[in-house]
Amino acid sequence: MIRAMVFVALLLAVLPLSPARAVNPDEMLTDPALEHRARVISKDLRCLVCQNQSIDDSDAGLAKDLRVLVRERLKAGDSNEQVIDYVVARYGDFVLLKPPVKASTLVLWAGPAVVALFGILALILFYRRRRTASPVAAQPLSAEERARLNKLLEGDAP
């Protein structure tokens, strides 16, 4: 029992030191500059199987195939843009973790700013109105109101 607990404790202590690396050493390019570009590109490409991971993070088979493909294109002399365009031509804009700015994605990009603008506008209007509003307490009671108030106060007395 104690042995098992020690084992688990050791395991937990060691685990954070070895983060899951999807990129296998045998996939890596010998040229460090090219390999670096490959990593940059694959961090921006979505793994379509697991969807919210990049192919750089994912262990899915398709992610591995795409990583190898990216490296092949780079070795063949493609620029980063050409490699990304190659993948987008096959999988569409969805494969990009950061969607491009275009007419169909305008709401996505401008939406938060527009909402924030509305919020700021509402705040300004709110405080402005509060400052300019005439203080209600300054208006004296009319005779009628005073009479009603007195009546109420009298009725309340013991």
Binding site: L48, A89, R90, Y91, G92
Partner: protein
């Protein structure tokens, strides 16, 4: 009395957002629209599954003037097993050639799978590296493409064709694409 509009604005905004998200939630996030719809099928030549009954196929086979089906499958894919009887049914109808794209499989496993479940494909190409699959934008098997007579991809179905999907979705689409000619 002042206008009520400013107070109704947040409610209106909430309703718009709620509707937007409600529609979004009914959609299956696993289904990604193909980037290849209405584009020509990618150029490829696939060898047959080694030792299989049918030949391989290539882009030229899809440009023979008739609507064809390309069904991406693999022996390691469980939903493919569920789907296969429907694919057999479609192939036996004889209204369209049905091509099998054997995705990232070993010839032995693919052969055994086809022998066991029935092989009615017009031809089956073996894509052992998965490269042709990537060119087709395949991200999960099974996937089924409808290609028109000019070799243009017109429709992609992601996931197994089971239940009434063949009758309700695939067959009407085939007829529709056949009807529009080419």
């Amino acid at each position: 009395m002042k206008s009520r509009l400013p107070y109704l604005l947040p409610l209106g905004l909430f309703l718009v957002l709620a509707l937007y998200f409600a529609v979004g939630l009914t959609k299956d996030p696993k289904i990604i629209p193909s980037a290849l719809i209405d584009k020509p099928a990618p150029e490829f030549t696939l060898p047959p599954v080694a030792g299989g009954k049918t030949p391989g196929f290539a882009t030229a086979d899809l440009k023979k003037g008739q609507v064809s089906i390309v069904n991406v499958f693999a022996s390691w894919c469980v939903p493919c097993r569920a789907e296969h009887p429907e694919i057999n049914k479609l192939a036996k109808m004889g209204i369209v050639p049905v091509y099998g794209l054997n995705y990232k499989d070993t010839p032995q496993a693919a052969r055994a799978w086809l022998n066991q479940l029935g092989d009615n494909y017009t031809a089956t190409g073996a894509d052992e590296s998965g490269r042709v699959g990537i060119d087709w934008g395949v991200y999960g098997v099974p996937e089924t493409f409808i290609v028109d007579g000019t070799g243009r991809i017109r429709f992609k179905h992601v996931g197994p064709i089971v239940g009434d999907k063949l009758e309700k979705e695939i067959l009407p689409l085939i007829r529709q694409i056949q009807g529009t000619g080419k």
